[in-house]
């Protein structure tokens, strides 16, 4: 059985991540993720969306992002769709910055630590970032 939901995010709405939390945490619990794992997955999604707003859309307001949550017996798969600038490849490794007091550079570490697989593809003018969390 597959559960699939799609959420449209308006990134200029400052409450978007609270909406995600209220929507996705119950789904994570239903998928038998414990509280820390569920919050970790939510955090990975938030970091990925932050990157889309900051880099793909370069901070411009009102640009759409769609999140598709698809759960099977063995995985949660999250596809994030946007129409911003393409993501430079290869994807960041997720290493922490050398300077422990660096102001940035932790987002990809958080994404990779809280997911089992990350994929990216550009289809026509659309970016699709896929995060996979194994359940088994």
């Amino acid at each position: 059985m597959t559960n699939r939901i799609r959420i449209e995010i308006g990134p200029d709405d400052p409450g978007w991540n609270q909406v995600l939390q209220e929507t996705l945490l119950p789904l994570a619990r239903a998928a038998a993720l414990d509280e820390l794992a569920g919050m970790g997955l939510l955090l990975a999604i938030v970091e990925a969306i932050n990157n889309i707003i900051e880099h793909a859309y370069q901070g411009s307001d009102g640009q759409p992002i769609a999140l598709v949550w698809e759960q099977t017996a063995s995985t949660i798969r999250l596809d994030l769709h946007d129409h911003g600038r393409p993501m430079p490849l290869p994807l960041p490794s997720g290493d922490l910055p050398d300077d422990p007091l660096a102001l940035g550079g932790r987002g990809w570490h958080i994404i990779r630590a809280n997911t089992d697989e990350v994929q990216y593809r550009r289809v026509q003018e659309e970016n699709v970032l896929t995060l996979v969390k194994n359940l088994t």
């Binding site: 400052p14 409450g15 978007w16 991540n17 609270q18 939390q21 509280e35 820390l36 919050m39 970790g40 939510l42 955090l43 938030v46 970091e47 932050n50 707003i53 900051e54 922490l96 422990p100 007091l101 660096a102 102001l103 940035g104 932790r106 987002g107 570490h109 958080i110 630590a113």
Partner: protein, 112 residues
């Protein structure tokens, strides 16, 4: 955004909001820097109301720490929940900040 702020025993104490994320991080950073620049440089950050923080929120606290250390001060963190504690451990910022169970413990550490 206005951070809850008071001074106790010469130490600035601020309480972070329920969520510290990209949308409010810029305002929080500016306010934190202002508080540090006008105070003793010793700061306790109370996270007892904070449920969720992303890497933008971490950057706010690192900014505060840099500003405090420039004034020979420090930033002590208090009362973080398990999720945020896990985030600090994941990003190894628990080795940079001193973390206390509650505000009282953090204030005592400044007076020790």
């Amino acid at each position: 955004m206005s951070l809850e702020h008071h001074t106790e025993q010469g130490v600035d104490v601020i309480k972070l909001p329920q969520r510290l994320v990209m949308a409010n991080a810029g305002d929080a950073r500016n306010e934190l820097k202002r508080i540090v620049s006008q105070g003793s440089g010793k700061l306790v950050v109370d996270l007892s109301q904070t449920e969720f923080m992303d890497s933008s929120g971490l950057a706010v606290l690192v900014t505060g720490l840099q500003a405090a250390r420039k004034r020979d001060g420090d930033v002590y963190l208090a009362a973080m929940n398990d999720t945020i504690r896990a985030l600090f451990q994941l990003t190894r910022l628990h080795t940079v900040f001193q973390i206390f169970d509650d505000e009282t413990g953090a204030l005592k550490a400044f007076s020790a």
